[in-house]
């Protein structure tokens, strides 16, 4: 106890020194970071010109490419959540001893080179998919798995799933009702997080799409670069801005949700609920 008091006192007196110098350093770091991130944007804007930002939408192939990317994002997100959510719930409830293993498996897509994964997907993909761009969605599901699983897993950990499910059961709710009325509403933030990560991944993915010769939005930007560098750069800026707006909207929605029901601050990468339950 005395030791704790001592350190507190020490840090209390010591605080005056850093307290004066810390804000300066904060500003310096902020400034350096801002320069690092904003200068390329500013340069891109100068190169493309304000007018080009608006003219992007009228370019040949733009609408098709964007629409393909959006469709892929939707399909990938749906498949990912339909696969990952029941799996994660089941493992949490019935096979807790497998949780470690599953964590290991879901991290594999980060370790294994994407090209190897795509060969694997080609091996098992149903033949009717092989000639459509939705083949990409299958690959994206695998690429998104590490992020989506972690987001959902964190949400489940915060919930005390077993007790809540048993409480719901004992009150007369069957499995489907329990999932729909109790589990899902409490995983909103986690699912949002998984969705954001998946969508961001799909909208930005270039390698696989270009490898399989489909013109998704990122591929279109690169291809169009050969026709008009300015429009291509403007398209990148547009994409960045729209994605940023989208992420902000989702984050704000998530925060409002969790504020109402007492979850912690919802951020994109952390959905852990603060333990606010005390006596």
């Amino acid at each position: 106890m005395a030791a704790i008091a001592d350190t507190q006192a020490a840090s209390g007196t010591g605080r005056q020194g850093p307290a004066r110098s810390l804000p300066v350093w904060r500003w310096v770091i902020l400034l350096v970071a801002a320069v690092y991130f904003l200068v390329p944007l500013w340069a891109a804007l100068r190169f493309a010109g304000i007018k080009a930002l608006g003219s992007v939408v009228t370019q040949a192939g733009f609408a098709d490419a964007l629409w393909l990317s959006v469709r892929l994002a939707i399909v990938t997100t749906v498949i990912t959540i339909v696969l990952m959510l029941p799996t994660a719930v089941y493992v949490h409830l019935r096979l807790p001893q497998v949780r470690r293993l599953l964590e290991g498996i879901t991290i594999l897509p980060i370790v294994i080179p994407p090209v190897v994964l795509s060969v694997g997907v080609l091996q098992v993909a149903p033949s009717f998919l092989k000639s459509t761009p939705y083949l990409l969605a299958l690959i994206y599901v695998i690429l998104a798995m590490p992020f989506a699983y972690r987001a959902i897993d964190a949400g489940l950990r915060a919930l005390d799933l077993k007790t809540v499910v048993e409480a719901s059961n004992s009150l007369g709710a069957g499995w489907i009702t329990t999932l729909w009325r109790v589990v899902l509403p409490n995983l909103k933030t986690a699912l949002l997080s998984a969705t954001v990560l998946t969508v961001a991944l799909v909208l930005g993915e270039f390698t696989m799409a270009s490898l399989f010769l489909y013109q998704t939005f990122p591929v279109w930007i690169v291809v169009f670069d050969q026709t008009s560098g300015q429009i291509s750069v403007a398209a990148s800026l547009d994409a960045l801005f729209v994605t940023w707006l989208f992420l902000m909207a989702i984050t704000m929605f998530g925060t409002r949700q969790s504020r109402r029901t007492g979850g912690g601050e919802a951020t994109l990468f952390s959905v852990a609920r603060q333990e606010t339950r005390g006596n």
Binding site: A167, L171, G172, R260, T276
Partner: protein
């Protein structure tokens, strides 16, 4: 519905609460359950009368929670059966058992406010929104939380959350109320209040209740009958006072209340010698499985020993703990044995540490156990 073996047994005991005919009888028959190599339950049988509150008491790992979870339908027994009002329910899923349960950890649904939490079970029973809100409101009122109806679980204290959980479990008018250590996460003061509240409500509604706890004070103060469990078996089930005064086994004797162990010699014809007294061994004691060994321990409560100041006594006072009207005196006997003896505080004032005393056993039958 009202008369069966369980209710008869309870009525004969005189433990049947007023209005006990309203509830449901529950019978656990020869339940066994193993997890891997360990036997969590080993032939457990209990009969609970309608409207009765039975507490299962035991150290952690004794199988009490497993028993409760089997009744709730969250676990299944390897062998044995659970009868509710005489009907076997082993095949009935948890959602269809009509049992209200309060859990050890906070189990409220975080996405619903207190009122919706309480109304959830009614919603599952397809009750209309208006009726649901009314009934949920009544139950929140019953647990004294009507003003908190619109609050979410994270805005409630631990004690309030458990009270909402109790209201939620009672809202469905359960046939049986199951309480799985509902107070153990709370601090002492809240625990005491809630203990009384649960008991009052349970008696008012006459709901048959099975209550699992490791806290003997909780079990003894709340239950009509207390079942003491050890290693998956029921050691004894009896009314709290019966359990304290006439423990059936050494385990019960030592688990419930404070118990002294004094080395003794088993003599012939059911007598035992201890602290230079010879007293009879209690009838029906587990003395038969002592394996013919004469070295045993006598089990005796702190209030069951006599003590007088004596010049050259067999003990020396070492400690004194003031407990209000009585003082617990620690006495060191020969052979490095320390016993606790309760004396009225007025008499204990004269017993300073270091005083030589003479400790004797009153000439009543005592419980003995194999020497440790």
């Amino acid at each position: 519905m009202t008369t069966n073996t369980a209710s008869d047994a309870a009525a004969a005991d005189g433990t049947r609460p007023a209005g006990g005919t309203r509830g449901t009888s529950v019978v656990l028959q020869d339940l066994s359950r193993s997890f891997g190599g360990t036997r969590a339950l080993d032939g457990l049988s209990i009969e609970i009368a309608p409207g009765e509150l039975v507490a299962l008491l035991g150290p952690s790992g004794c199988g009490k929670t497993t028993a409760l979870r089997i009744v709730a339908g969250f676990e299944s027994a390897d062998t044995g059966s659970v009868l509710v009002d005489g009907k076997e329910i082993s095949r009935v899923p948890a959602a269809k058992r009509d049992m209200g349960m309060v859990f050890q950890s906070y189990s409220l649904f975080p996405n619903m406010n207190a009122l919706d939490n309480v109304g959830f079970g009614l919603r599952m029973r397809k009750l209309g929104a208006a009726k649901r809100r009314q009934r949920a409101g009544e139950l929140l009122d019953l647990v004294g939380l009507a003003p908190q109806a619109k609050q979410f679980p994270h805005q409630l204290s631990g004690g309030q959350q458990q009270r909402v959980a109790l209201a939620r479990a009672l809202a469905i008018e359960p046939r049986v109320l199951l309480l799985d250590e509902p107070l153990s996460a709370l601090d002492a003061k809240v625990r005491l209040q809630l203990r009384e509240q649960i008991r009052t409500i349970q008696q008012r509604l006459g709901t048959t209740t099975l209550f699992v706890t490791h806290d003997q004070e909780e079990a003894l103060s709340m239950a009509d009958r207390v079942g003491v469990m050890s290693h998956g078996k029921l050691e004894q089930i009896a009314a709290p006072d019966e359990l304290y005064v006439h423990p059936a086994t050494a385990f019960v004797a030592e688990f419930v209340g404070v118990m002294n162990r004094i080395p003794a010699e088993l003599g012939g014809s059911g007598m035992v010698s201890c602290v230079s007294c010879t007293v009879p061994v209690k009838e029906g004691d587990s003395v038969t499985d002592l394996g013919g060994d004469n070295a045993v321990d006598v089990l005796v409560r702190p209030e069951g020993l006599n003590m007088e100041v004596a010049e050259h006594g067999n003990g020396i006072v070492t400690t004194k703990t003031f407990l209000g009207s009585v003082t617990r005196v620690g006495v060191l006997l020969s052979g490095d044995v320390t016993v606790q003896i309760d004396k009225p505080s007025s008499e204990a004032a004269a017993l300073a540490p270091g005083t030589s005393v003479s400790v004797t056993l009153p000439p009543e039958p005592v419980l003995v156990a194999p020497r440790r």
